[in-house]
């Protein structure tokens, strides 16, 4: 749970705070969990990710990174690539992600793993906002088809 938060907020102590708050939220809302919303595990990670996303929204992401720009860029790509690389060789998700064009795959991973917004992803990929949005939409549709 800490690592999932840390992929988004980068700072370890912030990630731990997020996990601490997540536990409380899980505890308080456990009785309202419904299996129709997805597995319990995905519910837990959703809580962690949403808390982490709240922290990096509103342009606060830059405040979290003290390193120089080059390190930050390297770090960001490393975190995203690492998450993908760690997927099991036999994993269907892996195969389906591999079936996407690399930039579109990167867009999906930047969003899910890194918690980046459409605007940030457009900037990172060097494409207009509209292009980033439609690339990701199409990638998500393809992913769903592939994994169905």
């Amino acid at each position: 749970m800490i690592s999932v938060a840390q992929r988004i907020v980068r700072r370890r102590e912030l990630a731990e705070e997020i996990v601490q708050e997540s536990f409380i939220q899980i505890w308080q809302h456990a009785a309202t969990y419904e299996a129709s919303r997805g597995s319990a595990l995905s519910w837990i990670f959703t809580i962690v990710r949403n808390r982490a996303l709240n922290v990096v929204r509103d342009g606060r992401r830059l405040d979290l990174v003290e390193d120089d720009t080059l390190d930050m860029l390297r770090d960001r790509d490393a975190v995203i690539d690492d998450a993908f690389e760690r997927l099991d060789e036999d994993s269907r998700l892996r195969r389906c992600l591999e079936g996407l064009e690399s930039e579109r795959r990167k867009g999906v991973l930047l969003a899910y793993v890194g918690g980046y917004s459409h605007g940030e992803i457009a900037g990172i990929l060097g494409v207009p906002l509209g292009t980033a949005k439609s690339w990701i939409r199409r990638a998500l549709a393809a992913l769903k088809e592939c994994m169905a």
Binding site: S36, F45, R86
Partner: protein, 240 residues
């Protein structure tokens, strides 16, 4: 249908955190009122879940568990859904009741090892367990938690759905090493939480095997497991 309107794509964007706040508000109304939308969201979450599972489990740094426990012990109202309203009114709910309503929500969790490990740790008071063991059945579904404490004391917490067949007894075993073979830690006639005192043994080690078998009434007649395995697991230090 254009991708723009496709419910699965919308659900995926929502799960990816890409929706604007305004769209999220509208979408969540849709989620709570429409089963197809809920299904689409659940589907999108499950598709991507594996990425979260690749994140390495790391031991929390000093103090994090203490802070979590402190927070959880504060009396605070439990948020319950309508069907459980009669159970909870807030701080007066007993620990047992809170725990069972908590776990009943998680009974369906297929791969809950991470969660079970970390949350079981929260029920420690006053002793800190040295290890947590999540016992899984052959479908990899959790059937029981075991907390292993100092002095061969273990607390067994069977999860929802575990029943002891009539005329049978559950017996808990551990395997300190291959030479000794399985050693009985005690028996349970009912699937309720129980603390058992095992015999004198070396301290449990990481990855030590624990299992629960279904034995004839009164326990195994031979001193070794004779019945089918309800669930088994390996000792772990709690990690999140």
């Amino acid at each position: 249908m254009s991708e723009h309107d496709d419910i699965d794509v919308l659900a995926s964007e929502y799960v990816l955190g890409l929706m604007s706040d305004a769209d999220v508000a509208d979408f969540e109304i849709r989620v709570s009122s429409d089963a197809d939308t809920r299904r689409a969201v659940a589907g999108a979450r499950e598709r991507l879940l594996e990425l979260d599972l690749t994140a390495p489990a790391t031991p929390p740094r000093e103090g994090l568990w203490d802070r979590i426990e402190e927070e959880l012990d504060k009396p605070r109202p439990q948020i319950v859904n309508l069907s459980q309203r009669r159970l909870a009114a807030g701080a007066t709910q007993s620990r047992q009741q809170r725990r069972s309503s908590f776990w009943s929500g998680f009974a369906a969790a297929a791969v809950a090892a991470i969660l079970a490990t970390s949350l079981a740790y929260v029920y420690l008071k006053p002793l800190q367990p040295r290890f947590i063991i999540v016992l899984l059945d052959d479908q990899a579904k959790p059937v029981s938690l075991v907390e292993a404490f100092e002095g061969q004391k273990i607390r067994v917490i069977p999860l929802d759905g575990v029943v002891v067949p009539s005329g049978k007894t559950l017996q808990v075993w551990t395997l300190p090493n291959k030479e000794t073979g399985p050693v009985s830690m005690g028996i349970m006639d009912e699937a309720v939480e129980i603390t058992l005192q095992g015999p004198s043994l070396p301290a449990p080690k990481p990855d030590q095997l624990y299992e629960i078998t279904i034995e004839p009434e009164g326990g195994s007649p031979t001193g070794k497991p004779t019945g089918p395995i309800l669930g088994k697991g390996f000792a772990r230090m709690p990690q999140i």
